[in-house]
């Protein structure tokens, strides 16, 4: 392994700014965010509503471009990348877990997990299919592989979404309030699962949460207030 690979952070944000608005009236939502995440971190991103958490998550997820500053993903500057390249990098490097899971209702659990593999690779090998089944087994849904989302509970759907986020084995998983729509028991189960996966695979997690109880269980907490990192 080269020295360069060892010391390259998964994510490096330097003085990232984001403004919204038009016709000369702009509002700055993020005021110079600098943040570095190393491989294997299990980080909680907390902050009150309107603090800029979702905007920051979207920028880190390469879904939005910052107005200023730089974002390095595994050492690669993303600010100058054309959109198609950004999309490819996103597909390969970042897994998403959303609050409302966003599973495709027409697909089974297994097909939903295989979706990023197909989008990324353009084809599916038997090994990849095995991995998708293994991921569903890992999240406790071995007996629900061929179930469509409509036949699964909220917690089970979120587990499918977690398996899907891990399908391409990305170095970074972004979870936007993954337990926000679940009862306490299910939320604990999901959080525990994420933590276990982080320990097992060394995947870096950045989890947006409002739940201080869950945030305390993370190895690192980043607090955002009014578009600034305060801790």
């Amino acid at each position: 392994m080269s020295e360069h690979t060892i010391h390259t952070p998964i994510l490096q944000l330097t003085d990232v700014r984001k403004e919204y608005g038009s016709d000369g009236i702009t509002t700055e939502v993020l005021h110079g965010i600098s943040l570095t995440m190393e491989q294997g971190e299990f980080t909680a991103l907390i902050g009150p509503s309107g603090s800029g958490k979702s905007t920051l998550l979207n920028i880190i997820g390469l879904l939005e471009q910052p107005t200023g500053g730089s974002l390095l993903m595994q050492g690669r500057e993303t600010g100058t990348m054309p959109e198609e390249e950004l999309t490819r990098l996103r597909g390969k490097s970042i897994g998403f877990v959303f609050q409302f899971h966003h599973l495709i209702p027409a697909f089974t659990a297994l097909e939903n997990v295989m979706l990023p593999l197909m989008l990324e690779e353009g084809r599916l090998t038997p090994e990849q299919r095995e991995r998708a089944v293994w991921l569903l087994t890992r999240v406790g849904l071995a007996d629900r592989v061929d179930f469509k989302p409509g036949k699964l509970s909220g917690g089970q759907q979120q587990r499918v979404a977690i398996a899907r986020a891990l399908a391409v084995n990305p170095p970074l998983v972004l979870a936007d309030e993954p337990t926000g729509n679940l009862d306490t028991a299910a939320a604990d189960g999901i959080f525990k699962l994420l933590y276990e996966i982080n320990r097992e695979s060394g995947t870096t997690f950045l989890i947006v949460t409002h739940d201080p109880r869950l945030a305390k269980r993370c190895s690192r907490v980043v607090e955002l207030v009014d578009g600034r990192v305060v801790s």
Binding site: R90, A106, P116, M118
Partner: protein, 386 residues
């Protein structure tokens, strides 16, 4: 699993998941393409059907000899034109018709005068079998004549007090004929003042073997217009004059053109309505599936890839709608031709291509707006549900 198979599966699942909307789109596309197919099939076979209908109105071309013309007058004084009797050689006409390759039914006529008692009668030699086929509206009291018999026009019969069973002795230039009247004929035209007998008998009596004064033709409509058919025949008969029977020919062609135009306009209106309906339904689908699209983009699907999925859905619907439209359209065409023309429509396999084309065109055209929306869709906003 390969990309193409996966894409197909994705499209089929998405369509199956929204059965109601898929069926609605399919119904709209099938309806539009079936109408285009039905009107197309009816239109393409209508020329033949209208020609069959027009047959009931008799000949549509006539051939007469180009008579010897003589201008009478001097200097600025003109007394008009006189013409000598002229004839068409029957053999020459038959050869020309065979060479022309036209689908034609013919009736040969020789008209002349024969002397009866103290007056001259206008007589016409015809083939009665041809007359019965080409002029079905002629009404006959009595029966059609056999050899040595004649039929008399109703006006002439009234004027001369002739009736079936009477015998006439007619003097011609070459022969005298003794004919028995077998029937009185009425056509409602100038024929009612004539006396009809078999063509060879009159040719011999007048000493005009193989000569004709008039040929009536019924040309079956083909790809070319009647005017063009007449021009072609004219070239083969330089010593004759080939004329359209204008009221019949022009009416049938004009009617055909108008009905075809009407069909094209109806089809255009239906296609525009169907296109709008497809566009509306596809737009609703895109709005509903915004999160799905955003998700695919977030997971690494490029704008083109995601658009390809929607394009594939539209194309799949277009193909299915086209196939259904062709089958349904053929049934409609059968129904129309049976009801209107009392005949069965032709089965035209290549119209399946038109049906598919119409359906695909509508599906893709109606999807252009929604496709642009898919292309531009911001995954962040769509995942937020905005």
């Amino acid at each position: 699993m390969h990309r193409r198979r996966w894409l197909l599966q994705l499209i089929l699942r998405a369509l199956a998941h929204r059965k109601g909307r898929t069926l609605l789109l399919l119904a709209v596309l099938a309806m539009a393409s079936s109408l285009a197919t039905a009107l197309g099939i009816v239109s393409s076979s209508m020329g033949k059907r209208v020609a069959e209908e027009v047959r009931k109105y008799g000949a549509n071309l006539i051939v007469i000899p180009e008579s010897a013309r003589l201008d009478v007058g001097s200097g600025g004084l003109n007394f008009g034109v006189v013409s000598e009797p002229a004839y068409l050689p029957q053999r020459q006409v038959e050869d020309a018709l065979n060479k022309s390759g036209l689908k034609v039914e013919r009736s040969f006529h020789l008209r002349g005068a024969m002397h009866w008692k103290d007056s001259d009668l206008m007589v016409e030699g015809v083939n009665f079998a041809d007359i019965r086929r080409l002029f079905p509206w002629w009404q006959l009291k009595g029966r059609w004549p056999a050899a040595g018999e004649t039929v008399v026009g109703s006006d002439l019969a009234t004027r001369l007090k002739l009736k079936p069973g009477d015998t006439l002795e007619l003097d011609g230039k070459a022969q005298t004929l003794r004919l028995r009247i077998s029937g009185i004929v009425s056509s409602g035209g100038e024929e009612d003042g004539l006396l009809f007998l078999a063509l060879p008998e009159l040719q011999q009596a007048l000493g005009l073997d193989g000569q004709l004064t008039l040929v009536r033709l019924m040309v079956t409509a083909g790809k070319d217009s009647l005017k063009k058919n007449a021009a072609e025949l004219q070239l083969l008969l330089p010593s004759a004059k080939v004329n359209e029977v204008r009221q019949t020919a022009r009416t049938s062609e004009g009617l055909l053109a108008k009905v075809k135009l009407l069909m094209i306009m109806v089809t255009a209106v239906v296609l525009v309505s169907a296109g709008s309906s497809v566009a509306g339904t596809m737009s609703t689908t895109v709005l509903e599936r915004g999160k799905e699209i955003g998700l695919m983009k977030a997971m690494g699907g490029t704008r083109w890839e995601v658009m390809l999925i929607f394009c594939g859905e539209a194309a799949m619907l277009g193909v299915l709608g086209g196939v259904a439209g062709y089958l349904f359209g053929s049934v409609i065409a059968q129904f129309i031709t049976r009801t209107v023309f009392s005949a069965s429509a032709e089965f035209i396999p290549w119209f399946s291509g038109i049906s598919l084309g119409v359906s695909l065109f509508l599906a893709l055209l109606g999807s252009v707006g929604p496709m642009i929306a898919v292309f531009k869709l911001d995954p962040v906003r769509s995942l937020r549900g905005e």
